[in-house]
Symmetry: C2
Subunit: 578 residues, 2 copies
């Protein structure tokens, strides 16, 4: 309860509304999104204007690193390249920007500049996990894109680049480049709570300390994990319009429309990043991606219009379903307003039947935990797809498209998919695996922490707490906990709802309707520490109502992107005798 | 292909229609079901009449062994009883049947007779897993019920009983008993194919050899696993009526009604017994139940009326849903026509939303693989609940009831549920776990067989084949196969559909709609045998499109009923050098 109170103070201390107010009202930062041509900020930023005036920045290096952290894999991969390193060459030729610009294609060679050097990366293009999007950089400078994907600022990335150096850029052209360097595209990002553990600052990715997470049934917005792929777009709520396409009657809806013309629905749902617990896969063998701990998951109350209602307003119904696209519409695509320098926006899609189902509960949400969405969570509108991986819950929603096809985005097609442990970057065929939608059953121990030292007191007991959840609306029905590394098990007490009524002796809330258990369950075991043991391995595993269980170990589910990490969670603690 | 052809010959050799014709047309066996008062056979059997005339057989020992094989657990349990064994007592008193009959309650003591002995089983009642149904036997003879549940005919069951012996039954009463002993209630069971491996003859439970199973995408009805809880009822199709209750307009439907008034739907769906692969749990620690191998699963084409259509015909709709039972109807109960001596029928239920969903595909099926249902598979009508454990696919369907409550049957309430490996018969609380509905992801190796000896030929390769399936309509998207006990993995080729078009170079069939992948996938890997190894452990594990995976090992998912056995499947083979 102490932790719970502390957690609530955190929220009170930095409400979403305050976090938004904390942004400077008259920022000079560039706008990375224009909303229906009417965004107030799109004509404001000075640097934005400059950028537009310089054609060399557009087309740009969009998607150079579509998945943050991908450079880690580049390094591994590069050792297989046959080209010998040549960092020792004494005097390299000097090239003008005009000469560099001629090398803007695979045929002519792909050159880029960085900090006054000229690099021929033609041979690297084929090794680029994001495919030929890297060609958008051809003939220009890397700096603006490395500002966007700040994870590049690591020594080994520079080492890789150095191997491709072919010359120096003319000093006069270097001076011209410096004059047009854009400001930091992340300067408009909101202020964040200092308790968060930051995995990547730009784009911002962070998770709360596990002990806070496990102590609050509803995760306060301020400590809810942040998973951004791009800078947070600044959206003017007055001019905002959601466009809905692929329907008999395309729609353009203002926030007032969304709030006034459709019933408001509220759903308590857990969102989890596909990469939650990736650090455990990294411990087996390095994977590509942010090194998340166990807290890239959270549970919140979301309010908004049902996507189903909006699609019906646009004329979707049995007749439209039969007529539209030869009856073949099967997906709903979402486009975010967060964009990279080339204008490529974040995107994802879900199956149409999930969107249309009365039991799908897919929201166009404008509130989180009873307040306007915080900037980091998609203000002013996001999709909430209960039971489905975080990546499909598109934030800063700009467009909804009913389509025969899945989203063509990198994140739907070439990321967020699961592969066999035997599949590596040389053999992976992204088309061979389905995009992750529903997530598998999951649980983790939030207390005690891994590596904690416990004092063995008079009763010799330990309190173990954690969370458990499963995708697809499957309710967690049991959590087994072991204090001997998995040899023997006991059943944890599941704490229904927020547990407040329970503490006051009230009946627990009714169970969710079948197939609609969107929210996690927190659980607790108070059990005797094994007598005489100084090293104790505590393990948990959850079971959902389809009786799927978590796999025992990490190695057999290891995959090159480090997603879907849901093996038994283990924490090792040291017990000190009193 | 050789096996496939052989398999088809098996079917051709004994079609379901033939199997039914094989039953004697004018049987004198008793009928264990009466259908709406109009069953032709209900007035036919001589023994049936005798049984009815003898009040001592009714009330009877219904549900003494509701789960076949439960006696195995009794044995284990009995060792904990405090009562010392007393088989050596030299001379026990003689009781008349009238005296025995006075001991028909817990208050008066619970006595039963068996083969001339009198037994006081009062203390055993509390240890009976099926609860106080055992009291139906009080004051009477065990023989007719042990004929029904033939698994009792084992020495250790007699040993248990012997410990409760208190006397001898008067010889004159013994003679009277013999005069009214009923004939074998299983005498009306259909003929079965001799290739089946029989786990229990009465009731009949059998599975095909795995190699046959894995070689045929559609499992021929003759070799499809049989899982009967009671004698096969003999149902007259002309007088058969399905009663549908709990609706604004209760229905009584003939077979002609079901075939003529509702569109015929055909679904290819895999059914799996909850106890499939129980033998692997038994190898860890003995469980209660039939010792199934890996073939208590099969894939067939089922045709019939949609349950949804029938419920709507009965007036079910949004209005009825709101009005019925205070809007609280949540389940659809099914009652079979297979009954025990007390008239208790097999029963189960499913969630109402599964029955009503357009995407649920729940059938009232009258055909299997294009022919009338075989007697063992529910002739003339059964429920097929795709994606759901076999136990809810009630055969010989007599009644459908929309209700606020789950089925009250033993099989819904006190069986077919999963528990923690730490839960035993002393601590189990059946109310604490949900009835199994959707099954977890599953796969197994059908070739080579466990223990097989392989010759290492010139190419040194082995062909590994198997099946993979998941509950809830979740499509299997990948099967990983290891030839080194799980250290390294390769991806199996999934054979879509029946593979016939594939062999002729045709495009594979379109994928099932999302959430409606009801049929299994067969898979195959041709891989080099590990060089130099004489002992090879082959392992498989499947992944479904919610990315649930099979757990690594059996012990951590062990449960006292031995259900939900879906750990990695392992076969060990010996390799002989050529």
């Amino acid at each position: 309860m102490l932790l719970l109170r502390r957690c609530r103070r955190l929220t009170a201390g930095l409400s979403p509304a305050q976090a938004q107010r904390a942004r400077p009202a008259t920022s000079t930062a560039p706008s990375w999104c224009g909303v229906g041509g009417g965004s107030r900020s799109s004509s404001g930023g000075g640097e934005d204007g400059q950028t537009s005036q310089d054609p060399r920045w557009r087309p740009a290096l969009a998607g150079l690193l579509a998945g943050t952290g991908a450079v880690l894999a580049y390094g591994l991969h590069h050792h297989k390249a046959e080209r010998p390193a040549s960092p020792m060459e004494p005097a390299l030729p000097v090239f003008s920007q005009a000469e560099v610009s001629k090398h803007g294609s695979l045929e002519a060679g792909v050159w880029v500049t960085f900090r006054g050097g000229v690099y021929d990366i033609t041979e690297f293009v084929a090794m680029h996990p994001g495919g030929d999007k890297i060609l958008l950089a051809a003939g220009g400078a890397l700096e603006p894109f490395w500002a966007l994907y700040a994870v590049h600022s690591q020594d080994h990335v520079l080492d890789i680049l150095s191997e491709y150096k072919v010359g120096e850029l003319d000093p006069e052209d270097q001076a011209r480049q410096r004059a047009v360097e854009p400001s930091d595209p992340y300067s408009g990002d909101p202020q964040r709570h200092p308790v968060l553990r930051v995995n990547s600052a730009k784009p911002f990715n962070a998770e709360p300390p596990p002990s806070l997470l496990g102590d609050s049934y509803i995760t306060p917005s301020a400590i809810f994990f942040k998973r951004n792929h791009l800078p947070v777009p600044r959206v003017d709520p007055a001019s905002y319009r959601l466009r809905v396409e692929g329907l008999p009657r395309p729609l353009s809806l203002s926030l007032a429309d969304l709030k006034g013309r459709f019933p408001k629905h509220t759903v308590t749902a857990t969102l989890q990043c596909a990469g939650n617990r990736r650090s455990e896969m990294n411990a087996v063998k390095q994977v590509k991606g942010l090194n998340w701990g166990i807290a890239a998951i959270g549970n919140a109350t979301w309010s908004g219009a049902l996507l189903r209602d909006v699609l019906r307003e646009g004329g979707w119904g049995p007749e439209a379903a039969a007529a539209a696209a030869g009856g073949g519409a099967r997906h709903v695509q979402f486009e975010g307003l967060d964009a990279d320098a080339s204008g490529t926006t974040y995107g994802a899609s879900i199956p149409l039947n999930k969107a249309l189902s009365e039991e799908g509960d897919v929201l166009l949400a404008y509130q989180m935990n009873g307040e306007d969405l915080p900037a980091d969570h998609g203000y002013p509108l996001r999709v909430v797809v209960p039971g489905t991986v975080g990546a499909r819950n598109v934030k800063w929603l700009g467009k909804v498209i009913v389509s025969r096809e899945e989203s063509a985005s990198h994140w739907q097609q070439n990321d967020y998919k699961g592969f066999s442990p035997g599949t590596d970057w040389d053999t992976v065929d992204f088309k061979s695996a389905p995009a992750i939608q529903e997530l598998p059953v999951q649980s983790a121990i939030t207390q005690p922490a891994d590596g904690a030292v416990l004092e063995r007191d008079a009763d010799g007991e330990v309190t173990v707490r954690g969370y458990a959840w499963s995708g697809g609306g499957r309710e967690v029905v049991r959590v087994d906990v072991s204090l001997d590394g998995g040899k023997t098990w006991q059943v944890a007490r599941l704490r229904e709802g927020d547990g407040e009524g329970e503490e006051q002796g009230e009946a627990p809330p009714p169970p969710p309707p079948p197939g609609r258990a969107w929210a996690w369950k927190l659980w607790e075991v108070v059990a005797p520490l094994p007598p005489g043991e100084q090293q104790v391995e505590i393990v948990c595993k959850a079971v959902d109502n389809s009786y799927n269980m978590q796999p025992d170990s990490v190695a057999p589910i290891w995959n090159l992107r480090g997603v879907l990490s849901n093996a038994w969670h283990r924490v090792r603690v040291t017990v000190r005798e009193d």
